[in-house]
Symmetry: C2
Subunit: 225 residues, 2 copies
DNA sequence: CGGTCCGGAGAACAGTCGTTTACCGAGTGA
DNA sequence: TCACTCGGTAAACGACTGTTCTCCGGACCG
Protein backbone atom coordinates (compact mmCIF):
# COMPACT_ATOMS: atom_id res chain seq x y z
CA UNK A 1 0.00 0.00 0.00
CA UNK A 2 2.89 2.30 0.64
CA UNK A 3 4.83 1.79 -2.55
CA UNK A 4 1.90 2.27 -4.93
CA UNK A 5 0.11 5.31 -3.65
CA UNK A 6 -2.30 6.02 -6.45
CA UNK A 7 -2.99 2.45 -7.51
CA UNK A 8 -6.69 1.82 -7.48
CA UNK A 9 -7.28 -0.47 -10.40
CA UNK A 10 -4.60 -2.94 -11.32
CA UNK A 11 -3.07 -1.32 -14.35
CA UNK A 12 -1.23 1.95 -13.82
CA UNK A 13 -0.67 4.39 -16.63
CA UNK A 14 -2.28 2.42 -19.42
CA UNK A 15 -4.67 5.17 -20.49
CA UNK A 16 -1.87 7.72 -20.66
CA UNK A 17 -1.16 7.15 -24.31
CA UNK A 18 -2.00 10.72 -25.28
CA UNK A 19 0.96 12.57 -23.86
CA UNK A 20 -0.03 14.65 -20.81
CA UNK A 21 -2.92 14.59 -18.44
CA UNK A 22 -1.78 11.61 -16.41
CA UNK A 23 -2.79 13.33 -13.20
CA UNK A 24 -6.22 14.16 -14.46
CA UNK A 25 -6.78 10.68 -15.81
CA UNK A 26 -5.77 9.15 -12.50
CA UNK A 27 -8.13 11.38 -10.57
CA UNK A 28 -10.96 10.52 -12.89
CA UNK A 29 -10.23 6.83 -12.50
CA UNK A 30 -10.35 7.06 -8.71
CA UNK A 31 -13.55 9.03 -8.91
CA UNK A 32 -15.13 6.33 -11.01
CA UNK A 33 -13.80 3.71 -8.62
CA UNK A 34 -15.55 5.58 -5.81
CA UNK A 35 -18.81 5.65 -7.72
CA UNK A 36 -18.52 1.98 -8.58
CA UNK A 37 -17.73 1.00 -5.00
CA UNK A 38 -20.64 3.04 -3.70
CA UNK A 39 -22.98 1.50 -6.24
CA UNK A 40 -21.79 -1.93 -5.16
CA UNK A 41 -22.51 -1.17 -1.51
CA UNK A 42 -25.86 0.38 -2.36
CA UNK A 43 -27.22 -2.88 -3.68
CA UNK A 44 -27.75 -3.95 -0.09
CA UNK A 45 -28.41 -0.65 1.69
CA UNK A 46 -29.64 2.84 1.02
CA UNK A 47 -27.70 6.03 0.58
CA UNK A 48 -28.60 7.55 3.92
CA UNK A 49 -26.91 4.69 5.74
CA UNK A 50 -23.85 4.67 3.51
CA UNK A 51 -20.70 5.75 5.33
CA UNK A 52 -17.84 7.77 3.97
CA UNK A 53 -15.31 5.40 5.50
CA UNK A 54 -17.23 2.46 4.18
CA UNK A 55 -16.98 3.74 0.61
CA UNK A 56 -13.32 4.60 1.05
CA UNK A 57 -12.61 1.12 2.40
CA UNK A 58 -14.42 -0.55 -0.49
CA UNK A 59 -12.59 1.65 -2.98
CA UNK A 60 -9.22 0.98 -1.40
CA UNK A 61 -8.26 4.54 -0.49
CA UNK A 62 -7.80 6.38 2.78
CA UNK A 63 -10.89 8.09 4.23
CA UNK A 64 -9.35 11.53 3.91
CA UNK A 65 -8.79 11.02 0.18
CA UNK A 66 -12.54 10.90 -0.29
CA UNK A 67 -12.64 14.67 0.17
CA UNK A 68 -10.45 15.17 -2.87
CA UNK A 69 -13.44 14.08 -4.96
CA UNK A 70 -16.62 14.87 -3.05
CA UNK A 71 -17.41 17.12 -0.09
CA UNK A 72 -20.14 14.76 1.09
CA UNK A 73 -21.66 11.36 0.68
CA UNK A 74 -24.69 13.30 -0.52
CA UNK A 75 -22.64 14.84 -3.32
CA UNK A 76 -21.52 11.38 -4.34
CA UNK A 77 -25.18 10.40 -4.40
CA UNK A 78 -26.02 13.24 -6.73
CA UNK A 79 -23.15 12.20 -8.99
CA UNK A 80 -24.56 8.68 -8.97
CA UNK A 81 -27.90 10.08 -10.08
CA UNK A 82 -26.27 11.62 -13.12
CA UNK A 83 -24.37 8.45 -13.92
CA UNK A 84 -27.48 6.31 -13.52
CA UNK A 85 -29.48 8.54 -15.81
CA UNK A 86 -26.84 7.92 -18.43
CA UNK A 87 -28.02 4.31 -18.55
CA UNK A 88 -31.64 5.39 -18.54
CA UNK A 89 -31.07 7.86 -21.34
CA UNK A 90 -29.51 5.18 -23.50
CA UNK A 91 -32.59 3.06 -22.96
CA UNK A 92 -35.03 5.84 -23.76
CA UNK A 93 -33.10 6.70 -26.90
CA UNK A 94 -33.55 3.17 -28.21
CA UNK A 95 -37.21 3.15 -27.30
CA UNK A 96 -37.91 6.48 -28.98
CA UNK A 97 -36.56 5.62 -32.43
CA UNK A 98 -39.19 2.93 -32.90
CA UNK A 99 -42.17 3.10 -35.17
CA UNK A 100 -44.77 0.70 -36.49
CA UNK A 101 -47.93 -0.75 -35.07
CA UNK A 102 -48.79 -0.29 -31.41
CA UNK A 103 -48.41 -3.89 -30.33
CA UNK A 104 -45.03 -4.17 -31.96
CA UNK A 105 -43.79 -1.02 -30.27
CA UNK A 106 -45.03 -2.24 -26.93
CA UNK A 107 -43.36 -5.60 -27.32
CA UNK A 108 -40.04 -4.10 -28.34
CA UNK A 109 -40.16 -1.44 -25.64
CA UNK A 110 -40.68 -4.01 -22.91
CA UNK A 111 -37.85 -6.10 -24.29
CA UNK A 112 -35.61 -3.05 -24.32
CA UNK A 113 -36.46 -2.27 -20.73
CA UNK A 114 -35.64 -5.79 -19.65
CA UNK A 115 -32.41 -5.72 -21.60
CA UNK A 116 -31.18 -2.47 -20.09
CA UNK A 117 -32.17 -3.45 -16.58
CA UNK A 118 -30.06 -6.58 -16.94
CA UNK A 119 -27.17 -4.56 -18.27
CA UNK A 120 -27.12 -1.97 -15.45
CA UNK A 121 -29.08 -3.43 -12.54
CA UNK A 122 -27.34 -1.32 -9.93
CA UNK A 123 -28.25 1.93 -11.66
CA UNK A 124 -31.91 1.07 -11.83
CA UNK A 125 -31.99 -0.21 -8.27
CA UNK A 126 -30.33 2.96 -7.06
CA UNK A 127 -32.83 5.20 -8.80
CA UNK A 128 -35.83 3.20 -7.65
CA UNK A 129 -34.56 3.15 -4.07
CA UNK A 130 -33.49 6.76 -3.75
CA UNK A 131 -36.36 8.25 -5.70
CA UNK A 132 -38.33 8.18 -2.47
CA UNK A 133 -35.31 7.72 -0.21
CA UNK A 134 -34.11 9.66 2.79
CA UNK A 135 -31.71 12.13 1.16
CA UNK A 136 -33.47 15.23 -0.09
CA UNK A 137 -30.83 16.46 -2.49
CA UNK A 138 -30.81 13.11 -4.26
CA UNK A 139 -34.59 12.93 -4.42
CA UNK A 140 -34.64 16.40 -5.95
CA UNK A 141 -31.99 15.51 -8.51
CA UNK A 142 -33.87 12.39 -9.55
CA UNK A 143 -37.13 14.24 -9.87
CA UNK A 144 -35.51 16.92 -12.00
CA UNK A 145 -34.04 14.35 -14.37
CA UNK A 146 -37.30 12.43 -14.59
CA UNK A 147 -39.04 15.68 -15.41
CA UNK A 148 -36.70 16.05 -18.36
CA UNK A 149 -37.70 12.62 -19.59
CA UNK A 150 -41.36 13.47 -19.25
CA UNK A 151 -40.88 16.64 -21.24
CA UNK A 152 -39.14 14.79 -24.05
CA UNK A 153 -41.80 12.13 -24.05
CA UNK A 154 -44.50 14.79 -24.30
CA UNK A 155 -42.88 15.99 -27.51
CA UNK A 156 -42.78 12.48 -28.92
CA UNK A 157 -46.33 11.66 -27.97
CA UNK A 158 -47.67 14.93 -29.31
CA UNK A 159 -46.29 14.07 -32.73
CA UNK A 160 -48.22 10.81 -32.87
CA UNK A 161 -51.57 10.91 -34.70
CA UNK A 162 -53.22 9.30 -31.68
CA UNK A 163 -52.69 12.55 -29.79
CA UNK A 164 -54.43 14.75 -32.33
CA UNK A 165 -56.48 17.33 -30.52
CA UNK A 166 -55.06 16.47 -27.08
CA UNK A 167 -54.11 19.41 -24.93
CA UNK A 168 -50.54 19.39 -23.67
CA UNK A 169 -51.66 18.89 -20.10
CA UNK A 170 -53.31 15.61 -20.92
CA UNK A 171 -50.38 14.40 -22.99
CA UNK A 172 -48.16 15.20 -20.05
CA UNK A 173 -50.24 13.08 -17.71
CA UNK A 174 -50.03 10.25 -20.20
CA UNK A 175 -46.25 10.66 -20.38
CA UNK A 176 -45.95 10.56 -16.62
CA UNK A 177 -47.96 7.39 -16.54
CA UNK A 178 -45.59 5.80 -19.06
CA UNK A 179 -42.52 6.87 -17.11
CA UNK A 180 -43.91 5.57 -13.84
CA UNK A 181 -44.90 2.28 -15.40
CA UNK A 182 -41.43 1.90 -16.84
CA UNK A 183 -39.83 2.39 -13.44
CA UNK A 184 -42.26 0.00 -11.80
CA UNK A 185 -41.50 -2.62 -14.42
CA UNK A 186 -37.78 -2.15 -13.99
CA UNK A 187 -37.94 -2.61 -10.22
CA UNK A 188 -40.19 -5.63 -10.64
CA UNK A 189 -37.56 -7.17 -12.91
CA UNK A 190 -34.90 -6.46 -10.29
CA UNK A 191 -37.01 -8.07 -7.58
CA UNK A 192 -37.50 -11.09 -9.78
CA UNK A 193 -33.78 -11.36 -10.43
CA UNK A 194 -33.20 -11.25 -6.66
CA UNK A 195 -35.07 -14.52 -6.31
CA UNK A 196 -38.49 -13.09 -5.56
CA UNK A 197 -41.84 -14.74 -5.88
CA UNK A 198 -42.59 -14.26 -9.57
CA UNK A 199 -40.57 -14.99 -12.67
CA UNK A 200 -39.51 -12.39 -15.16
CA UNK A 201 -41.64 -13.60 -18.03
CA UNK A 202 -44.80 -12.95 -16.01
CA UNK A 203 -43.58 -9.45 -15.22
CA UNK A 204 -42.89 -8.66 -18.85
CA UNK A 205 -46.29 -10.01 -19.87
CA UNK A 206 -47.91 -7.83 -17.20
CA UNK A 207 -46.05 -4.78 -18.48
CA UNK A 208 -47.18 -5.49 -22.03
CA UNK A 209 -50.78 -5.86 -20.92
CA UNK A 210 -50.70 -2.64 -18.92
CA UNK A 211 -49.24 -0.72 -21.84
CA UNK A 212 -51.87 -2.21 -24.14
CA UNK A 213 -54.61 -1.18 -21.72
CA UNK A 214 -53.37 2.38 -21.78
CA UNK A 215 -53.04 2.39 -25.56
CA UNK A 216 -56.64 1.22 -25.83
CA UNK A 217 -57.84 3.84 -23.39
CA UNK A 218 -55.97 6.46 -25.32
CA UNK A 219 -57.59 5.42 -28.60
CA UNK A 220 -61.09 5.65 -27.13
CA UNK A 221 -60.46 8.72 -25.02
CA UNK A 222 -62.58 11.06 -27.11
CA UNK A 223 -65.37 8.57 -27.74
CA UNK A 224 -68.65 9.01 -25.98
CA UNK A 225 -68.21 5.46 -24.77
CA UNK B 1 -36.94 12.55 34.77
CA UNK B 2 -35.94 10.70 37.89
CA UNK B 3 -39.14 11.04 39.86
CA UNK B 4 -41.48 9.90 37.10
CA UNK B 5 -39.89 6.75 35.73
CA UNK B 6 -42.58 5.44 33.44
CA UNK B 7 -44.05 8.69 32.31
CA UNK B 8 -43.98 8.84 28.58
CA UNK B 9 -47.14 10.65 27.64
CA UNK B 10 -48.40 13.32 29.96
CA UNK B 11 -51.22 11.59 31.73
CA UNK B 12 -50.30 8.65 33.98
CA UNK B 13 -52.79 5.96 34.90
CA UNK B 14 -55.78 7.37 33.09
CA UNK B 15 -56.51 4.27 31.05
CA UNK B 16 -56.43 2.00 34.10
CA UNK B 17 -60.12 2.23 34.78
CA UNK B 18 -60.72 -1.49 34.23
CA UNK B 19 -59.13 -2.93 37.36
CA UNK B 20 -55.90 -4.79 36.53
CA UNK B 21 -53.49 -4.74 33.59
CA UNK B 22 -51.78 -1.52 34.50
CA UNK B 23 -48.41 -2.97 33.68
CA UNK B 24 -49.52 -4.25 30.31
CA UNK B 25 -51.22 -0.99 29.44
CA UNK B 26 -48.11 0.97 30.31
CA UNK B 27 -45.91 -1.25 28.19
CA UNK B 28 -48.27 -0.90 25.28
CA UNK B 29 -48.26 2.86 25.66
CA UNK B 30 -44.48 3.00 25.59
CA UNK B 31 -44.42 0.74 22.58
CA UNK B 32 -46.77 3.04 20.74
CA UNK B 33 -44.68 6.00 21.83
CA UNK B 34 -41.66 4.27 20.27
CA UNK B 35 -43.52 3.70 17.04
CA UNK B 36 -44.74 7.29 16.96
CA UNK B 37 -41.28 8.67 17.67
CA UNK B 38 -39.75 6.50 14.97
CA UNK B 39 -42.39 7.55 12.48
CA UNK B 40 -41.68 11.17 13.33
CA UNK B 41 -37.97 10.73 12.71
CA UNK B 42 -38.62 8.78 9.52
CA UNK B 43 -40.22 11.75 7.84
CA UNK B 44 -36.75 13.12 7.22
CA UNK B 45 -34.65 9.97 6.90
CA UNK B 46 -34.96 6.32 6.02
CA UNK B 47 -35.12 3.29 8.25
CA UNK B 48 -31.64 2.02 7.51
CA UNK B 49 -30.11 5.18 8.93
CA UNK B 50 -32.38 5.30 11.96
CA UNK B 51 -30.48 4.73 15.20
CA UNK B 52 -31.67 2.89 18.25
CA UNK B 53 -30.43 5.62 20.55
CA UNK B 54 -32.02 8.22 18.34
CA UNK B 55 -35.44 6.61 18.69
CA UNK B 56 -34.99 6.15 22.43
CA UNK B 57 -34.00 9.79 22.80
CA UNK B 58 -37.02 10.99 20.83
CA UNK B 59 -39.29 8.73 22.83
CA UNK B 60 -37.84 9.88 26.12
CA UNK B 61 -36.58 6.52 27.43
CA UNK B 62 -33.14 5.09 28.08
CA UNK B 63 -31.49 3.25 25.20
CA UNK B 64 -31.51 -0.03 27.11
CA UNK B 65 -35.28 0.14 27.56
CA UNK B 66 -35.69 -0.16 23.82
CA UNK B 67 -34.83 -3.84 24.06
CA UNK B 68 -37.87 -4.45 26.28
CA UNK B 69 -39.99 -3.87 23.19
CA UNK B 70 -37.97 -4.75 20.11
CA UNK B 71 -34.80 -6.75 19.56
CA UNK B 72 -33.83 -4.55 16.62
CA UNK B 73 -34.57 -1.39 14.76
CA UNK B 74 -35.52 -3.72 11.95
CA UNK B 75 -38.19 -5.33 14.14
CA UNK B 76 -39.57 -1.90 14.91
CA UNK B 77 -39.66 -1.29 11.18
CA UNK B 78 -41.71 -4.42 10.61
CA UNK B 79 -44.09 -3.32 13.35
CA UNK B 80 -44.39 0.02 11.61
CA UNK B 81 -45.33 -1.79 8.42
CA UNK B 82 -48.22 -3.46 10.19
CA UNK B 83 -49.34 -0.21 11.77
CA UNK B 84 -49.13 1.65 8.48
CA UNK B 85 -51.17 -0.97 6.70
CA UNK B 86 -53.86 -0.35 9.26
CA UNK B 87 -54.32 3.09 7.75
CA UNK B 88 -54.15 1.69 4.25
CA UNK B 89 -56.72 -0.98 5.03
CA UNK B 90 -59.16 1.62 6.33
CA UNK B 91 -58.78 3.49 3.07
CA UNK B 92 -59.27 0.42 0.91
CA UNK B 93 -62.34 -0.55 2.89
CA UNK B 94 -63.99 2.76 2.10
CA UNK B 95 -63.04 2.54 -1.54
CA UNK B 96 -64.39 -0.99 -1.90
CA UNK B 97 -67.92 -0.34 -0.65
CA UNK B 98 -68.62 2.04 -3.53
CA UNK B 99 -70.84 1.37 -6.48
CA UNK B 100 -72.35 3.37 -9.27
CA UNK B 101 -71.04 4.63 -12.56
CA UNK B 102 -67.36 4.42 -13.38
CA UNK B 103 -66.64 8.14 -13.35
CA UNK B 104 -68.32 8.59 -10.00
CA UNK B 105 -66.33 5.74 -8.47
CA UNK B 106 -63.11 7.15 -9.83
CA UNK B 107 -63.84 10.61 -8.47
CA UNK B 108 -64.74 9.33 -5.03
CA UNK B 109 -61.79 6.95 -4.91
CA UNK B 110 -59.32 9.71 -5.68
CA UNK B 111 -60.93 11.92 -3.05
CA UNK B 112 -60.68 9.10 -0.53
CA UNK B 113 -57.02 8.59 -1.31
CA UNK B 114 -56.31 12.28 -0.82
CA UNK B 115 -58.28 12.32 2.41
CA UNK B 116 -56.46 9.36 3.95
CA UNK B 117 -53.06 10.59 2.87
CA UNK B 118 -53.74 13.83 4.66
CA UNK B 119 -54.89 11.98 7.75
CA UNK B 120 -51.86 9.70 8.01
CA UNK B 121 -49.07 11.22 5.94
CA UNK B 122 -46.29 9.56 7.89
CA UNK B 123 -47.69 6.10 7.28
CA UNK B 124 -47.91 6.58 3.55
CA UNK B 125 -44.50 8.19 3.36
CA UNK B 126 -43.00 5.33 5.33
CA UNK B 127 -44.49 2.69 3.04
CA UNK B 128 -43.49 4.51 -0.14
CA UNK B 129 -39.96 5.03 1.12
CA UNK B 130 -39.30 1.59 2.54
CA UNK B 131 -41.06 -0.37 -0.18
CA UNK B 132 -37.82 -0.18 -2.14
CA UNK B 133 -35.68 0.77 0.83
CA UNK B 134 -32.52 -0.73 2.22
CA UNK B 135 -33.91 -3.11 4.85
CA UNK B 136 -34.82 -6.47 3.40
CA UNK B 137 -37.13 -7.66 6.14
CA UNK B 138 -39.22 -4.51 5.83
CA UNK B 139 -39.35 -4.73 2.06
CA UNK B 140 -40.54 -8.31 2.33
CA UNK B 141 -43.21 -7.42 4.89
CA UNK B 142 -44.53 -4.60 2.71
CA UNK B 143 -44.63 -6.78 -0.35
CA UNK B 144 -46.52 -9.49 1.51
CA UNK B 145 -49.13 -7.03 2.73
CA UNK B 146 -49.48 -5.47 -0.71
CA UNK B 147 -49.98 -8.94 -2.12
CA UNK B 148 -52.92 -9.33 0.23
CA UNK B 149 -54.44 -6.15 -1.10
CA UNK B 150 -53.99 -7.30 -4.67
CA UNK B 151 -55.70 -10.60 -3.87
CA UNK B 152 -58.69 -8.86 -2.32
CA UNK B 153 -58.90 -6.47 -5.22
CA UNK B 154 -58.87 -9.38 -7.66
CA UNK B 155 -61.98 -10.74 -5.94
CA UNK B 156 -63.71 -7.37 -6.17
CA UNK B 157 -62.80 -6.81 -9.78
CA UNK B 158 -63.82 -10.31 -10.79
CA UNK B 159 -67.31 -9.64 -9.49
CA UNK B 160 -67.75 -6.62 -11.74
CA UNK B 161 -69.53 -7.20 -15.05
CA UNK B 162 -66.66 -5.49 -16.85
CA UNK B 163 -64.48 -8.48 -15.99
CA UNK B 164 -66.80 -11.08 -17.52
CA UNK B 165 -64.72 -13.65 -19.31
CA UNK B 166 -61.41 -12.34 -18.00
CA UNK B 167 -58.97 -14.95 -16.78
CA UNK B 168 -57.77 -14.47 -13.22
CA UNK B 169 -54.24 -13.75 -14.38
CA UNK B 170 -55.34 -10.73 -16.35
CA UNK B 171 -57.55 -9.46 -13.54
CA UNK B 172 -54.56 -9.74 -11.25
CA UNK B 173 -52.41 -7.63 -13.54
CA UNK B 174 -55.16 -5.03 -13.58
CA UNK B 175 -55.35 -5.11 -9.79
CA UNK B 176 -51.59 -4.62 -9.49
CA UNK B 177 -51.82 -1.65 -11.82
CA UNK B 178 -54.48 -0.10 -9.61
CA UNK B 179 -52.48 -0.67 -6.44
CA UNK B 180 -49.33 0.78 -7.93
CA UNK B 181 -51.17 3.80 -9.25
CA UNK B 182 -52.69 4.37 -5.84
CA UNK B 183 -49.29 4.36 -4.18
CA UNK B 184 -47.85 6.67 -6.83
CA UNK B 185 -50.73 9.09 -6.35
CA UNK B 186 -50.30 9.01 -2.59
CA UNK B 187 -46.59 9.81 -2.79
CA UNK B 188 -47.27 12.56 -5.32
CA UNK B 189 -49.71 14.11 -2.86
CA UNK B 190 -47.07 13.92 -0.15
CA UNK B 191 -44.50 15.58 -2.40
CA UNK B 192 -46.99 18.31 -3.18
CA UNK B 193 -47.70 18.86 0.50
CA UNK B 194 -43.96 19.17 1.10
CA UNK B 195 -43.90 22.26 -1.08
CA UNK B 196 -42.98 20.60 -4.35
CA UNK B 197 -43.43 21.91 -7.83
CA UNK B 198 -47.04 20.99 -8.54
CA UNK B 199 -50.18 21.59 -6.59
CA UNK B 200 -52.42 18.90 -5.29
CA UNK B 201 -55.39 19.59 -7.54
CA UNK B 202 -53.28 18.86 -10.60
CA UNK B 203 -52.17 15.58 -9.07
CA UNK B 204 -55.71 14.49 -8.32
CA UNK B 205 -56.80 15.42 -11.82
CA UNK B 206 -53.92 13.37 -13.22
CA UNK B 207 -54.94 10.40 -11.08
CA UNK B 208 -58.51 10.65 -12.28
CA UNK B 209 -57.43 10.76 -15.89
CA UNK B 210 -55.13 7.79 -15.50
CA UNK B 211 -57.86 5.74 -13.88
CA UNK B 212 -60.26 6.75 -16.64
CA UNK B 213 -57.74 5.70 -19.26
CA UNK B 214 -57.47 2.29 -17.69
CA UNK B 215 -61.23 1.93 -17.35
CA UNK B 216 -61.57 2.72 -21.04
CA UNK B 217 -58.90 0.25 -22.00
CA UNK B 218 -60.58 -2.36 -19.87
CA UNK B 219 -63.92 -1.81 -21.59
CA UNK B 220 -62.42 -2.24 -25.06
CA UNK B 221 -60.01 -5.01 -24.12
CA UNK B 222 -61.85 -7.73 -25.99
CA UNK B 223 -62.73 -5.60 -29.03
CA UNK B 224 -60.92 -6.15 -32.25
CA UNK B 225 -60.02 -2.47 -32.10
C1' DC C 1 -48.48 -9.03 53.51
C1' DG C 2 -44.33 -10.78 51.06
C1' DG C 3 -41.94 -12.55 47.19
C1' DT C 4 -41.62 -12.19 42.34
C1' DC C 5 -41.90 -10.08 37.91
C1' DC C 6 -40.60 -6.60 34.79
C1' DG C 7 -40.19 -2.07 32.47
C1' DG C 8 -37.53 1.21 33.36
C1' DA C 9 -32.63 3.95 34.66
C1' DG C 10 -27.76 4.53 34.52
C1' DA C 11 -23.04 3.43 33.53
C1' DA C 12 -19.66 1.30 31.03
C1' DC C 13 -17.89 -1.32 26.87
C1' DA C 14 -15.48 -1.47 22.47
C1' DG C 15 -16.30 0.17 17.90
C1' DT C 16 -17.17 3.17 14.21
C1' DC C 17 -18.02 7.41 12.44
C1' DG C 18 -16.90 12.20 9.98
C1' DT C 19 -13.44 15.49 9.91
C1' DT C 20 -9.00 17.83 10.38
C1' DT C 21 -4.16 17.99 10.33
C1' DA C 22 0.53 17.41 8.65
C1' DC C 23 3.11 15.25 5.42
C1' DC C 24 4.76 12.72 1.18
C1' DG C 25 6.08 12.00 -3.62
C1' DA C 26 5.11 11.82 -8.34
C1' DG C 27 3.24 14.58 -12.40
C1' DT C 28 3.42 19.39 -14.39
C1' DG C 29 4.98 23.45 -16.58
C1' DA C 30 8.05 27.52 -17.10
C1' DT D 1 16.02 21.49 -13.84
C1' DC D 2 13.34 23.26 -10.15
C1' DA D 3 9.45 25.01 -7.74
C1' DC D 4 4.77 23.93 -7.51
C1' DT D 5 0.45 21.42 -7.68
C1' DC D 6 -2.27 17.88 -5.89
C1' DG D 7 -4.07 13.14 -5.05
C1' DG D 8 -2.72 10.30 -1.94
C1' DT D 9 -1.25 8.69 3.22
C1' DA D 10 -1.33 8.08 8.46
C1' DA D 11 -2.78 9.66 12.76
C1' DA D 12 -5.51 11.80 15.92
C1' DC D 13 -9.92 14.26 17.55
C1' DG D 14 -14.41 14.09 19.84
C1' DA D 15 -18.86 12.45 19.10
C1' DC D 16 -21.88 8.95 18.68
C1' DT D 17 -23.26 4.13 18.08
C1' DG D 18 -25.26 -0.79 19.62
C1' DT D 19 -25.04 -3.67 23.39
C1' DT D 20 -24.54 -5.47 28.05
C1' DC D 21 -24.60 -5.14 32.85
C1' DT D 22 -26.48 -4.09 37.43
C1' DC D 23 -29.79 -1.97 39.96
C1' DC D 24 -34.39 0.14 41.29
C1' DG D 25 -39.26 0.50 42.40
C1' DG D 26 -43.88 -0.23 41.40
C1' DA D 27 -47.27 -3.68 39.72
C1' DC D 28 -48.68 -8.36 40.30
C1' DC D 29 -50.17 -12.62 42.61
C1' DG D 30 -50.62 -16.30 46.14
Amino acid sequence: MRDAPGEVTGDPADTAGSGGGVRQARKLRTRQALLAAALRLLERQSLSSLGLREVARETGIAPAAFYRHFPDITALGVALVEESFGSLRAMVREIRVQDGDVDGMIARSVDLIAHHVHEHPAHFRFLARERHGGVEAVRTAIRAELDGFVRDLVVDLSRQPASAGWPTGEVRILAELYVNLTILTATAILDAAAGAHRDEQAILEAARMQLRLIALGRRHWRDGD
